[in-house]
């Protein structure tokens, strides 16, 4: 998520090469702590996540980007002929990967924002397969995907129960005997430049993470870039800035890993290396990269 307020005239953030998800350029006080009303998380997310993305979607371009190394490596390691799910695909920037073997694997994008999907369906200038759907649902033959990625998505879900449900859904979408998945979420431990932007405080959700609002400013600007999809009207006239606050749950160290383990346990999976007569999930790696936590897993079955 590029939380830098002022770079919207650039095609992407010059530090992290991301359109959306720059965590380097956050100016102080860009991020504000929030606490959420958990009585109706779905409505809350509609208001503070989906509707925001629908409104700011035209500002994102989908033709140039440099993906984060962990994600690029993961997709490069997927064997030819595999089919995958990008759950929360956004503008579809991971759908064309790996760039050195185009068309050797097929990643299908799912997102809740219809406007982002209109961009994603042509990511990288090639027709992509995209689905309008919810990351908590499973509108597939169970286990049909060989791999799945969930990049910068689960942190938009407003309760621990819903975040776990999203992981369960992801685990169910991949093949029980060889399915691989990569989950990537925003970390409370930020890159040094943006450290001060993150509020500290007690969280009341029973986890150590932090619920925050991250503003996206749709500001007055004269469009210098090729703005086919940017401003539909009044491109040359300044207009009022509009601030959209997106909800995020910032993960703390170890929180994503235990979320994945709890989700796996809930659906009866053994955690760890293969044992006989069981179904399980092995954590291949987990770590921190550029202000994000990630966990890579592999499902196995010896039944």
């Amino acid at each position: 998520m590029c939380i830098h307020l002022y770079h919207h005239t650039l095609p992407h953030c010059y530090r992290c090469q991301s359109y959306l998800f720059c965590t380097f350029m956050a100016p102080p006080k860009a991020v504000t702590a929030t606490s959420i009303d958990t009585s109706d998380p779905q409505t809350y997310e509609d208001q503070h996540v989906h509707s925001v993305y629908d409104q700011i979607a035209p500002h994102f371009s989908s033709t140039r980007y440099k993906p984060w190394p962990i994600i690029a490596q993961f997709l490069s390691s997927i064997p030819t002929g595999w089919i995958g799910l990008d759950s929360g695909t956004g503008n579809g920037k991971y759908l064309p990967l790996p760039l050195d073997r185009p068309g050797s694997i097929w990643t299908i994008g799912l997102d809740r924002s219809r406007n982002l999907l209109s961009i994603a369906q042509n990511a990288g200038g090639v027709a992509r397969e995209v689905i309008w759907g919810d990351v908590l649902d499973n509108p597939w033959r169970h286990g049909v995907f060989d791999y799945a990625i969930s990049i910068a998505t689960i942190h938009h879900l407003a309760t621990p129960v819903r975040r776990k449900a999203a992981v369960k859904s992801l685990l169910k979408s991949i093949d029980p005997s060889h399915g691989r998945a990569l989950i990537y979420v925003w970390a409370i431990e930020q890159d040094t430049l943006s450290k001060r932007a993150v509020p500290t405080g007690e969280d009341d959700n029973g986890t150590d993470g932090q619920d925050v609002f991250v503003p996206w400013v749709l500001a007055s600007q004269t469009s210098k870039t090729n703005s086919k999809q940017e401003h539909t009207e009044e491109t040359d006239k300044p207009k009022e800035s509009q601030v959209f606050n997106r909800y995020y749950h910032m993960f703390t160290r170890g929180e994503l890993r235990s979320l994945v383990e709890n989700a796996a346990r809930d659906i009866g999976l053994h955690i760890g290396k293969e044992v006989s007569g069981a179904r399980g999930v092995e954590i291949i790696q987990d770590g921190w990269e550029r202000s994000n936590y990630y966990v890579e897993i592999r499902r196995w079955s010896t039944e």
Partner: protein
């Protein structure tokens, strides 16, 4: 887009709809043919994932009968090319997909299928 590669993966996920919920049936569809780059290695690798009968039935519904009704033992280039065409070059742009079990309607508009459910339909 909804191409048959995706149609072959989708299943109805409405509440309590767990059997006979695949494949979804096309209704009132508009299709467009668009060339896609042929990658025989991908097609070969993807073959074991396919539900063959569902693919053949869907292809027939879209007016394509180039594929055999049983998956052949011998995989040659012509077969792979036909399969490539059926999976990746027929775009369903408008219409709907209907669950054969509960009749739930999943609309398709501008090539994007709407798989969202209303709150009371979520399992």
């Amino acid at each position: 887009m909804v191409r048959l590669i995706t149609h072959n993966l989708l299943a109805c996920h409405a509440k309590n709809c767990t059997s006979n919920n695949f494949p979804l049936q096309f209704k009132d569809i508009e299709i467009e043919l668009r060339e896609a780059e042929f990658n025989p290695d991908f097609i070969r690798g993807f073959l074991p994932k396919l539900e063959w009968k569902a693919l053949i039935d869907a292809a027939k519904q879209l007016g394509d009968t180039s594929l055999p009704s049983e998956q052949p033992e011998m995989i040659d280039d012509e077969f792979l090319k036909n399969l490539h065409h059926v999976l990746l070059e027929i775009h369903i742009e408008e219409g709907a997909m209907i669950c054969p079990n509960c009749q739930h309607v999943y609309p398709i508009s501008n090539g994007i299928p709407n798989m969202l459910l209303a709150e009371h339909e979520i399992g």
